[in-house]
Symmetry: C2
Subunit: 319 residues, 2 copies
Amino acid sequence: MSDGKRLAVLGAGAVGSSVVDLAVEYGHSVVAFADSSSAVTAADGIDADSALDRKSSDGVVGDDDPDAALSADYDVLVEATPTTLGDAEPGFSHLETALERDRHVVLANKGPVAERYADVRELERESAGEVRFEATVGGAIPIISTVEDLSPSHVTAARGVLNGTANFILSRMAAEGIDYEHVLAEAQDLGVAEADPTFDVEGTDAALKCVILANVLSEGEREFTLSDADVEGITNVPGSALELAAEDGRTIRLVGEATRDGIRVGPRLVPQNAALAVTGTRNIVQLETTHAGQLNLSGRGAGGPETASAVLGDVGRLD
Amino acid sequence: MSDGKRLAVLGAGAVGSSVVDLAVEYGHSVVAFADSSSAVTAADGIDADSALDRKSSDGVVGDDDPDAALSADYDVLVEATPTTLGDAEPGFSHLETALERDRHVVLANKGPVAERYADVRELERESAGEVRFEATVGGAIPIISTVEDLSPSHVTAARGVLNGTANFILSRMAAEGIDYEHVLAEAQDLGVAEADPTFDVEGTDAALKCVILANVLSEGEREFTLSDADVEGITNVPGSALELAAEDGRTIRLVGEATRDGIRVGPRLVPQNAALAVTGTRNIVQLETTHAGQLNLSGRGAGGPETASAVLGDVGRLD
C-alpha cells in the first residue's frame, strides 16, 4: 500500500466531485481542484465540503484560474474532465503537462487512452510518472487491473456489456414490453439517460471502452482508435425482436468485444440466464484467458462514487 | 510491472507444478523446486520440463535435500505445499524462514493465513519481504487484490460459492435429479472430487477461504481461525430439497459469507437465475462495497494453471 498522495483533480462533474469528496477517507489529500473556469488550491489540502458546496451554489470551485491546478505541487493528477474524441484535448495536454513534470496521472477521461494510446505510453516512458486508467472502463469493476495482473498477453478477448444506459433500456423493454421511445423517456426521467443520449444509445461510449481494452490487449503491437471500431447501437432494436427472442429463452444486449484484432459493438442475442444478460444499469466484462479460463467481473459501471472508487484504487496502486 | 523474479517453489502438486511450468512465460525464473522429499536448484533457472518429467516418472524432482530450496538464493518463495490446520506447519515455518531472510512469500497454501493470520502479518512487518495470497481464495479469480484495491475498510462483506466440488455435486443433483451418492461417485470419476471428499463436501475448504477473507476484512482489529467458523456442508442435502426448491424457481448452493464479525458456510436457497447459482465447478464471490455497490467476480476457482495464474499475478504485484 502506498502512502497518502497529494491529488490535483481536474473536472468537477460527478466523478471529479466524488474523488474530492472521498479522497481524505482513502488516505489522500486534495491540493488542487479545478473545473473549466476556476480552481481552488491549498498545499495542505483544500476544504472539500466548501469547494463542493460552492460548485453547487455558484457553479465555480474557487477563485483561482483553472491553470493554477495544473501548476500546483501535487503527486497525482486526476483527469476527470469530459471525454473528447480525436485529439482528446484538453485532457491529453493535461496528461502531458503532468508527465513532463514527472507526476503520475490517473484518468477517468477516456479520450487519451481511446484516441491517442501510443502517444500516452510514449510520454509515460519518458517520464518518472505512471499513467493508470481503471476508471475509464466499467466504473467500479476492476477490469484493467485484472488484465494487468494476468498480463495482457494472457488475455485473448474482453467482451461485455459496458454501457448502463443502453442496458437499462434494453432490459426494461424486455421486461415490460414497452417500446424504445417510452423506455428512453423513463430513463431520462431517472437520470439514467442524458437529455442527449446519443453517445450511449448509439454505442459510442461502449465502443470507446472496448477500444481502450483492445489497446491494452495489443500493447506494443498496434494501436486502435474509435474509428477502428465496428459499432452499432440500440436505436433500431424493435420491441418485437425482444419478444421473439424471449420465446426462444433469449434476450438482446448491447455487447462489445475487444481482441488484439479489433473492436466490435452491437446488439446481440444472449440466453436469458447468460452472464451477459445483466439487468438495469449493471455492467459485466468477460475476460477470456490463456490459463485461467473465463473470468466474469460485474458491478456498477458508472456513477460518481463508483467511478471515484476506481480512481482512488488506481492512486493506491501507484508507487 | 516488476522485473523478472527468481522463484523458489515448495510443493510439486498441481499448483506448484503449474507455477514451475508457467514461470518463464511470465518472465520469471525458477531457481529452486522442492517436494516433500527432494529438491532441484539452479542459480540461473532449473530445467522445468526435466524436473516435472522426473516428478511424474520417479516421484522426486531432483537429487538435493528438500531444505536446499529454502536456503537457495531466491527473491520469492512460492509456498504451495498442502494446506494444514492448527499450527499450519510446515508451511508456516517455510514462510517464517523466507521472511527472516527478507524475501517475499506468495502463498497458495491456505494454512498460514487461515489459522495464523496475525502471526503472518507480524513477521511481515518485521521483514523487508511482502506476503501475498491471492491463490488461497478462489483460484484464478482476483478477489484479494480487488479487496486490497478497494481497501478492506470499504468492503462490508464477501459472500460466495467457493468450493467447486460441492458446487458441482449440488448443480448436478439439481440438473439431473440424481441423488448425492451417485453424483459424488461421478465427481470422483471425473477427478472433481477426491477419493476422500470430506474437506470439500463438509464445507471445510469453503470455510477456510471465508476465514481468510474475514481476516483481510478485519485486518488489525481481530483475527479469525477455522474454529470461529459456523460450518455446514452438503452431505445432508436430499434430492427432494432440490426438487422442492426448483418448483419455486430456486436452487441450493453451498454459500459462504465473511464479514468483520465472522464466517458462516452452509447450504442456502438462491433463485435459479441468481449470480450465486453458478454451475459446475465455477466459483463466484460477491463483494459488498461502501462506494461501489456489489461487485461480482466469478471464474474457475481451482486447477493447476488457474491457481498458478493467481500465484504469478501476485509475483507481478510485488515491488
